[in-house]
Structure formats: structure tokens, C-alpha cells
Amino acid sequence: MDQRSILDHQFVVAAYTVTWVIQLGYLAYLGLKWRAEKRRASIDSGNKR
């Protein structure tokens, strides 16, 4: 019975962890994209004469 509940717990941990890895990973990716766009914006406005 205890073995079963340990496995249950592990599966829940796995599910929650995967969720957060995906969500936070995407957030990090968005951060990088934002930085890239800002950099591009400063280059573009630097080019404007």
C-alpha cells in the first residue's frame, strides 16, 4: 500500500514539475525574444538619420 502511494506521489511531482518546466521555459524564451526585438529596435532607430 505504501509502495503504491510513493509512486502516486512521484507521478504527481513529475506532472507538476513538467508543467512548470514548460511554463517557465516558455517565459524565459519570451524574455529572450523581447530582448532581441528591443535590440533590433535600437538598431533601427539608430539607423534613422
Partner: protein
């Protein structure tokens, strides 16, 4: 002012997520049938709801873009930004659903997957919107937005057809029903509360991410526009 408001909202979202987690893990009781593993539902089902909602947002964005691109170009650009944001964040949440689902199913029902209407439709939805994102990435030329909007409409049309076709398929080949009894059987008030908090917190998180993605896309649009104008005005 805007940054401050956004900061407040982020704080609220964080609090909600922590509270939701607390509710899901420490307050809600074990399920009578499934035991501890049932708690995955507090992450899995809200993610599915948010994913479907955001795919609907993407569809509206696609329709808006096609409607307004001639007579109200500025609105069309906003629409397109929502279309992309909805699709991409929707795919993120849908990915969570497609991974947490099998993890839950394996423990709760003994199998990783089954081809019932809900799962198949979710999978096909994921495939359609990934293909939408691929089109946006690979299609070159200034008309990517129009082409993507058209694909978005085709994809959305397909969804109810997939659902129905799978329902009929299942009546011929009965298969285990996932989750049908899980949420319909939620009578315990603490479980309902945890589920409610799960929905609220994931919706709040999703809206935050959706908004951020929208802003990134708007920035991208502005840059593309600037570069196009420069190319037009190119001084020798």
C-alpha cells in the same frame, strides 16, 4: 503607471499560483477511487481550458485580421498579434495537457493513452496549431499574416469535425473513458475549491503570458514596419 499595474498583476498571479498549489496539495483530500494521484487534475484540466480558450482567441484574431486588413489596417495588425499570441501560448498549454494527461492516466487507469474523442481532438488541435506556427516561421514574404490567418480558419473548422468523427469511431470501438467520471464526480467542497483555485490561477497566469506574447509580437511588428519603411526610403 502601466508598468506599475503590470507589476501588481504579476504579484497577484504569483500569489494565486502559490495559493492554488497549496489548495491542490495540502487542502484537498485524496480522491476516493484514485488516491493521491488525482491531484494532477488541478493542473491538467485548467491547462486544457486555457489552451482551448486561447485557440479561440487565435481564431478570432485570424478572422479579425482578414476582415480589417483593407479598411482598418491598424486593427488588423492588433488582431494578427492576438492570433499569434493565442496560437503560441495555446500550444504551450496544450503541450502541458498532452504530457500531464498520460502521466495521470498511467497511474489512474493503467494506460498512457486512448483514442477517445477528447484526447484525439486535443492532439489534433495541437498538431494543427503547431503547423500554424510552422507556417508563420517558414513562409517568407510580406503576406505571411494573411496566409496564416487563412490557415487558422481552416484549422478551427476542422476541430468540431475531428470531435464528431472520433465520437462515432468510439461507438464502434468502445474504449476507456478518461476523466469522464473524474470531474463529474467531484462532490467534496474542498476538492471543488481546489479545482476552482486551479482554474483561476492558471487562467491568470495564462492571461499574463498571453499579454506578454502579444507585446512581443507588437514590438516585432513595429520593427518590421520600421525596416520596411527604411528599405523604401533607402538613401544611396
Amino acid at each position: 503607471m502601466k508598468k506599475f499595474a503590470l507589476g501588481i498583476y504579476v504579484a497577484i498571479v504569483v500569489v494565486l499560483m502559490v495559493w492554488g498549489f497549496y489548495q491542490a496539495i495540502y487542502v484537498a483530500p485524496d480522491d476516493a477511487l484514485q488516491g493521491y494521484v488525482f491531484r494532477i487534475i488541478y493542473y491538467h484540466v485548467p491547462s486544457a481550458s486555457v489552451a482551448f480558450l486561447f485557440f479561440a482567441v487565435s481564431l478570432l484574431g485570424s478572422i479579425g485580421f482578414l476582415t480589417w486588413r483593407r479598411n482598418r489596417p491598424e486593427w488588423a495588425q492588433l488582431s494578427d498579434a492576438w492570433a499569434v499570441a493565442g496560437a503560441e501560448v495555446g500550444v504551450v498549454f496544450c503541450t502541458v495537457v498532452l504530457i500531464t494527461g498520460p502521466i495521470w492516466a498511467r497511474r489512474a487507469w493503467g494506460i498512457w493513452w486512448t483514442w477517445d474523442a477528447r484526447l484525439t481532438t486535443t492532439l489534433v488541435l495541437w498538431l494543427i496549431y503547431v503547423s500554424y506556427l510552422l507556417l508563420r516561421r517558414f513562409a517568407a514574404g510580406p503576406q505571411v499574416q494573411t496566409l496564416a490567418a487563412v490557415l487558422g480558419i481552416f484549422g478551427a473548422l476542422d476541430v468540431p469535425i475531428v470531435y464528431m468523427s472520433n465520437r462515432w469511431w468510439r461507438t464502434q470501438h468502445p474504449a476507456p473513458v478518461f476523466g469522464g467520471d473524474a470531474d463529474s464526480g467531484m462532490k467534496d467542497p474542498q476538492m471543488l475549491a481546489a479545482f476552482g483555485w486551479g482554474m483561476v490561477s492558471w487562467l491568470a497566469w495564462g492571461l499574463l503570458i498571453l499579454f506578454l506574447r502579444y507585446r512581443v509580437e507588437r514590438e516585432h511588428q513595429k520593427n518590421a514596419h520600421l525596416e520596411a519603411m527604411e528599405a523604401l526610403e533607402a538613401k544611396i
